[in-house]
Amino acid sequence: MQLTSPESLIFWTTLIFVIFFILLRKFAWKPILGAVKSREDSINTALQSAEAARREMQDLTATNERILQEARMERDAMLKEAREMREKMIADSKADAVAEGARMIEQAKTAINAEKNAAMSELKAQVSTLSLEIAEKLLKTELSNKDSQKQLVEKMLGDVTLN
């Protein structure tokens, strides 16, 4: 191999490399590495926040689901209560109606009894009156002649003799 003057290339390589390195470090590597780093960081942050948002979304969905479930349960409970109330009301009113009916029937019965009794007593009075009138009239007619009066007394006496 052919060797040339060593000092030339060693001197220039050292000089150029050192200056080149200092310039590149200041004007290229620092900004480039900084930009790459900050972009990586921002990508990482974005990914993390996306993950967080996803998780939050999941939580939100779960909460929504839960609320919906609760609402559904509440609705069901309310419907059930309403149904029960309705049934209770119906049952109550039925019972009321039955009681009222019974009471009215009772009243009616009492009234009817009272009326019947009144009517009976009136009927009795009328029957007695009528009977008295009829008896009076009959007696008047019977006792209009002496024979018939005598006969009757005899007959009556005949009925009661052996007592």
Partner: protein
């Protein structure tokens, strides 16, 4: 076209294999003497020119003072670069044009009363050059007495400047695009950001640790992209690219040395404790352990230096050798085969370019990680 012709090409290549082997052994030992130009040159200067493969490859992978663009009519066309010399009497700056492509030490350049010659891309003082032996003249890189200190903007330095400016604007644009666009990256930033995050998430974080990695990110990113881009620039075979910067051992030495310094300066108590008082090792072994550990400190960056240098240089040598086959065989018929192999190797080298940048960065991160690691289990 397609399957049949591909099979034919493969068969032809396999048939040529023994010849290639033969040619290679020849190249290794001697110079293949062939006619570079089929017809004698008009002025008769280039009648016969030996084609020397190792010289061609060496000159392509080595650094040089001119940026060779092309040859035209046997004359090289070069992009002249400044030559900066620290001589015995001060700084001298002149254009490499003044050497008139001479690399044999014959053409003398006079600048401000001093005379210089250039041999094999080493610039000497003319008077001292004449006293050197032929061997010293040929390989004079370390003949510091005979030559001025050379701080020239060579081909590799030029290429490094270019790549640094290019990369600076590239990454500056990326940084600016982040300021303007806070959304997902697009355009050039979209292309480079995965690489940046790759260095961060697959190199720095696992090897240095979550607590400390951020401090070393600028260094790791800089070496990763610096090596990668310069590897790629070296693969582009035309001006103003094609320099073999990352395959130059001086360059890899500097990078490995910087990693060594960073590692050493980051070393915490545990790191030095492992070197000078390895836990669990008896004290009387310290005279052996300490030198071994200190050598270990040095071999790690040394391996970094050699690995990058050898991988990139080997790739360049293979590609150049494959192209040289055409000139060794002196026939255009070889060109489809050698072209196909060059294409294959070039694609492979693109992979190697990225891989070696990755390996260098990874091992640097690993060494730093070892230096800053906290061993609380001892």
């Amino acid at each position: 076209m397609s399957k049949k012709s591909l099979q034919f090409l493969l068969a032809a290549f396999v048939a040529c294999l023994p010849l290639v082997g033969f040619a290679n052994t020849q190249v290794d030992s001697t110079v293949v003497t062939t006619e570079a130009v089929a017809e004698p040159h008009v002025d008769g200067a280039h009648v016969k020119e030996p084609f020397n493969v190792s010289e061609l490859i060496n000159s392509h992978i080595a650094d040089s003072h001119d940026f060779h663009v092309a040859d035209w009519n046997g004359h090289p066309i070069s992009f002249a670069l400044p030559i900066i010399l620290w001589t015995n009497s001060g700084l001298e700056i002149f254009s490499s044009e003044q050497f008139h492509h001479d690399n044999t030490g014959e053409h003398v350049v006079s600048v401000n009363g001093q005379e210089f010659v250039r041999n094999n891309e080493i610039i000497f003082y003319k008077d001292k050059y004449d006293t050197l032996t032929a061997e010293q003249k040929k390989d004079g890189a370390f003949e510091f007495d005979a030559r001025p200190l050379n701080f020239s903007i060579t081909k590799n330095v030029f290429s490094m400047f270019m790549s640094a400016i290019l990369m600076f604007f590239l990454f500056f644009a990326v940084a600016r695009s982040y300021k303007k666009n806070p959304n997902a990256p697009k355009g050039i930033a979209g292309f480079l950001e995965p690489l940046i995050t790759f260095v961060r998430d697959d190199i720095a974080r696992p090897n240095i640790g979550e607590k400390q990695y951020a401090k070393y990110m600028p260094y790791l990113l800089t070496i990763f992209f610096f090596i990668w881009i310069n590897n790629l620039i070296g693969l582009i075979p035309f001006f103003p690219f094609s320099s073999n910067l990352t395959g130059n051992i001086y360059f890899t030495f500097v990078l490995a040395f910087i990693t060594f310094i960073v590692t050493t300066l980051s070393g915490n108590k545990d790191y030095w404790g492992h070197i000078f008082n390895t836990p669990g090792v008896p004290v009387w072994l310290a005279p052996i352990m300490i030198p071994v550990e200190v050598i270990g400190m040095l071999t790690k960056p040394f391996a970094l230096m050699i690995r990058l240098f050898a991988n990139i240089t080997a790739g360049h040598i293979i590609i150049l050798s494959l192209i040289s086959l055409i000139f060794i065989f002196e026939t255009v018929a070889v060109s489809p085969i050698s072209g196909a192999f060059v294409l294959f190797m070039s694609v492979l080298e693109m992979l190697v370019a990225a891989l070696q940048a990755y390996v260098f960065t990874l091992l640097s991160a690993l060494f730093i990680g070892q230096a800053v690691a906290e061993h609380d289990h001892h």
